[in-house]
Subunit: 140 residues, 2 copies
């Protein structure tokens, strides 16, 4: 069965590119730099359903992403989470957090309504990310 991105993720996110295992999405919420990795595999809800090689690949893609986002944004903390109570398709959040952000220290999920990016902001994002995440094959 070929991979289909969940419709809610499709609606809420901007497709940035691809790593070896995962699709890289940007949550369309300008309040926090918020990235999501989605393994391009059908029918997976939980990390432990991946085989050992896929788990290690997910871990390496997540760490590569976190390491580079950390260098780019200098966050106080990165929140990494596989929740999936609303969207069950396995996806791994990476949210850049600052003590000065509006939800701190609470988690961002459900804290505030999203505020989408405008085109100029998005353009700047992409330029900075493309320079930094060279292991990602960007599609835009």
């Amino acid at each position: 069965m070929s991979f289909q991105l969940d419709s809610r993720l499709q609606q809420d996110c901007i497709h940035l590119g691809r790593f070896e295992l995962c699709r890289l999405l940007l949550m369309n919420d300008s309040q926090y730099p918020w990235f999501i990795l989605v393994p391009e595999l059908e029918g997976i809800k939980e990390i432990h359903q991946l085989d050992v090689k896929q788990r290690q690949q997910l871990m390496e893609e997540s760490c590569y992403l976190a390491e580079n986002l950390s260098a780019l944004y200098r966050p106080d903390k990165i929140n990494i989470a596989s929740l999936g109570n609303i969207v069950s398709q396995l996806h791994l959040h990476h949210v850049i957090r600052y003590q000065s952000d509006k939800a701190w220290p609470a988690p961002v999920w459900g804290a505030f309504n999203t505020i989408p990016y405008d085109d100029a902001q998005l353009g700047r994002y992409l330029m900075r990310l493309k320079d930094k995440l060279t292991a990602c094959q960007f599609i835009i």
Copy 2:
């Protein structure tokens, strides 16, 4: 520097045992089966600060835990997260979630005040876990 468990984790959790890399804690909140893995390493805040071998070990311990908790509790979803906005010492939550639990579909963090276990509940927990998590060296 030898490993010291964060004082807040010490206060909020029950120490269950040890895997090769991580200490296994039970959050003392009877509202959800809620487990925490803490790599026994000093000065680590983020997963990407681990070396490749430690990352893979964390992944395998997390998946072993999730797989066995899944068989034991038959959850609708497992929420796995490294947040650390309040406790910066790296720790990985594993929360068993049901559509019928009181916070669903919201995350559990900050949703409700904790309700500690009583001794009888805790005893039952430990008996079931010891039978299931045979790769964990239980300390009680």
